[in-house]
């Protein structure tokens, strides 16, 4: 039973739509994000939906020195954590930044380094407690590098690979590691993209993630059809793939 939840990136649309479902079950929350005003909006919404004790803390993803403290604070505020849910991220304009070294490093740090930092702290925490679940929003973009989105894709690919190993390492300790790979979701992060048929509704994506976390799945594509799409994309030989406009 998942009762006490720490969320990093709690103002992300997918995170919000996921934790709304846990709120209905009466879970307690520790919400971390950049902006406390926005976190307060999420907090009120969760409480109206049935959440128990809910606290917020401001922390930037790149402020990794603070990561251990936020998890400690969460433990003190709402009790022993059952789930650490890492959901922050940014979608850079790949073409716009690809020759900007500092920008590329920053994007990589937000979408990969900071996630690995948090996972490191989370594993240490759960290893001490002897149980727990780490769930991370990665992306289908991490399945294969494509010219339109390879900076974000590389970061998410790094996250997915890291989680594979971490899951393997923590399995015998009874700690679950869940990799969530959403496809294209109609959220503020994708507002500038042209919306096609493949775009999923955030509420239904959130519900599927909630179910997947409760069941304790290892890797989940949301919606599920992305597993097939990415399977096909991954199967294209590199000699052909490099010529495609994807």
């Amino acid at each position: 039973m998942i009762k006490n939840i720490y969320v990093f990136g709690a103002t992300s649309k997918i995170a919000e739509e996921t934790i709304k479902n846990f709120a209905k079950d009466g879970a307690n929350f520790y919400l971390v994000g950049r902006d406390t005003d926005k976190l307060e909006i999420v907090k009120k919404d969760l409480i109206a939906r049935g959440a128990g004790k809910t606290e917020v803390e401001a922390c930037d993803a790149l402020d990794w020195n603070k990561h251990p403290m936020t998890i400690n604070n969460a433990d003190k505020a709402i009790g022993q954590l059952d789930l650490i849910f890492i959901a922050h991220g940014t979608l850079p304009d790949n073409e716009g930044i690809r020759n900007n070294q500092m920008k590329v490093i920053e994007e990589f740090n937000i979408n990969c380094t900071s996630v690995i930092s948090l996972c490191t702290v989370a594993s240490e925490y759960f290893e001490q407690k002897g149980k727990g679940t780490i769930a991370v929003i990665s992306s289908v973009a991490g399945e294969r590098g494509r010219q339109s989105n390879f900076i974000y894709g590389a970061a998410k690919g790094g996250v997915s690979k890291y989680l594979e190993g971490l899951r393997n390492r923590l399995f015998e300790k009874g700690i679950k590691v869940i990799t969530i790979k959403p496809g294209m979701v109609d959220t503020p992060m994708t507002k500038d993209l042209k919306k096609g048929l493949l775009f999923a509704n955030p509420a239904s994506v959130g519900k599927q993630i909630y179910k997947g976390i409760n069941i304790g799945r290892d890797v989940m594509f949301v919606p599920g059809y992305w597993k097939i799409i990415m399977g096909i994309i991954k199967s294209i030989p590199e000699s052909i793939f490099k010529k495609l406009k994807l």
Binding site: I41, K44, A48, R49, K195, A203
Partner: protein
């Protein structure tokens, strides 16, 4: 979303904003530039141009969908105005609370419900949606957020309810829910033979049921003109629902699978639901969704009208000479042969609407869809408007794309009063058309 996606539900008129703002958090709203001509856009479910702002700015409010507070003891809920009725129902129904008033779709935003002061099947017992609103937080272009209620800023409150989004940015809405025992409805469906039979049945039903509505056939002439099905209902009790599960499954008669609309399918549709094999009176226990939102269950039905879109036209006629006037209008419609997919006939009760520009007033209201066929369609609607105007009726701005300026001012004599509270920097295609 691209600017060309910001249309109204009926895809007419096809006019686009120059720019779309996209606040993600309520805290972003205070920072919006409101020094140009702006208008909030929710789900774009109104028909016509009240939600459009050609060549100017729209503010997409759909990310502002948080619940701010809910009191399970009193049933008072406060939400950001971009939340949809669907999202509210998903939250409240399991807790035993329902919307005090709901229109025929749950895909609209709360802000849109207030701005159009929407009505539903229970108008004769509950009035409009605005009658249940306890507080509105309204941001004006002077950068001040006004708390509006029956006590504070009450003129601004009355202007904002039914104010078509022209009084400012509706940030939050607090309103009173109603208690329900079950998510099911007890519904009686009764066939009636013509318009006169409708009037008789309606008089009786209004006294017995909180929800009433009827579907009317607009393609049959003569003695059967205005035949249809009357559906009257109330929220079902636990005992009724338990009992009904032992009975066979009974869904509302709703046999729509039309991929295109022409006279043939319309006739077939009307014949099907009118000819559905149930006795003169049938009683059913159904989930609330098919009762309140039958069309929401058919994804994209509005596209059946094709790329030219369609017009919806809804008027109200006061009771005085109502039977005679309604006959006149039905004859116009039937003789035109421009029969409609969905025709809804319903009475409005005595309840005074809370908004300065609210549409409902006591009488009978008829809502019809017309396939857009250019001049021919427009001329028919002008003829109907004339009868409505001559008989102290009115037309619903939320479903209008073409009424004349003269008629609007006749239907809404309080418009000058309303203008005192309009925000100078808020505008819409509708407003510029009728002002």
């Amino acid at each position: 979303m691209e600017n060309t996606n910001y249309l109204s539900f009926n895809k007419y008129p096809k006019v686009f904003p120059k720019e779309v703002l996209f606040p993600i958090w309520l805290t972003d709203v205070d920072k919006l530039e409101l020094d140009d001509s702006v208008l909030c856009y929710g789900k774009g479910k109104s028909y016509g141009d009240v939600c459009l702002n050609e060549n100017r700015t729209l503010i997409d409010t759909t990310n502002l969908n948080h619940i701010i507070g809910f009191d399970d003891d009193t049933g008072i809920i406060k939400c950001e105005a971009g939340i949809t009725l669907k999202e509210i129902l998903e939250f409240t129904v399991p807790k035993g609370w329902f919307l005090p008033v709901t229109p025929g779709t749950k895909f609209i935003t709360l802000g849109g419900a207030v701005a159009n002061d929407v009505h539903g099947k229970n108008h004769h017992t509950a009035g409009t949606f605005g009658s249940h609103v306890t507080e509105i937080e309204l941001l004006r272009s002077d950068k001040v957020t006004y708390k509006c209620s029956k006590k504070d800023n009450k003129e601004l409150f009355a202007a904002t309810i039914g104010g078509l989004g022209l009084t400012g940015f509706i940030k939050t809405v607090e309103f009173q829910l109603i208690k329900i025992e079950t998510p099911f409805m007890y519904v009686e469906s009764i066939k009636f033979d013509n318009l006169d039979a409708f009037f008789d049945l309606n008089e009786e039903s209004e006294k017995l049921f909180p929800y009433t509505v009827s579907w009317v056939d607009c393609s049959t002439k003569g003695k059967k003109m205005g035949k249809g099905i009357y559906m009257r209902g109330r929220h079902a009790t636990k005992a009724e629902v338990n009992k009904s599960f032992e009975m066979k499954d009974g869904a509302l008669p709703f046999p729509i699978e039309a991929s295109f609309i022409n006279n043939f399918t319309v006739k077939a549709f009307n014949k099907l639901f009118y000819g559905k094999q149930f006795s003169k009176l049938s009683t059913q226990i159904v989930p609330f969704e098919p009762y309140f939102y039958p069309l929401d269950m058919i994804d994209g039905w509005e596209k059946a009208y094709g790329k030219n879109g369609f017009l919806q036209h809804q008027f109200v006629l006061p009771y005085e000479n109502c039977r005679k006037n309604m006959h006149l209008i039905f004859e116009e419609i039937v003789n035109s042969g421009m029969s409609s997919f969905l025709t809804v006939l319903k009475s409005f009760g005595k309840a005074e609407s809370p908004g300065i520009l609210s549409f409902p007033k006591e009488g009978i209201t008829l809502a019809i869809d017309y396939r857009m066929e250019g001049e021919k369609t427009l001329r028919l609607l002008d003829r109907i408007d004339k009868i409505v105007a001559e008989n102290n009726g009115s037309l619903y701005p939320g479903k209008d794309a073409r009424m004349s300026r003269e008629h609007f001012h006749q239907f809404y004599p309080n418009f000058e009063e309303f203008l005192k509270y309009k925000d100078p920097n808020f505008s819409s295609s509708f407003y510029r058309r009728i002002k």
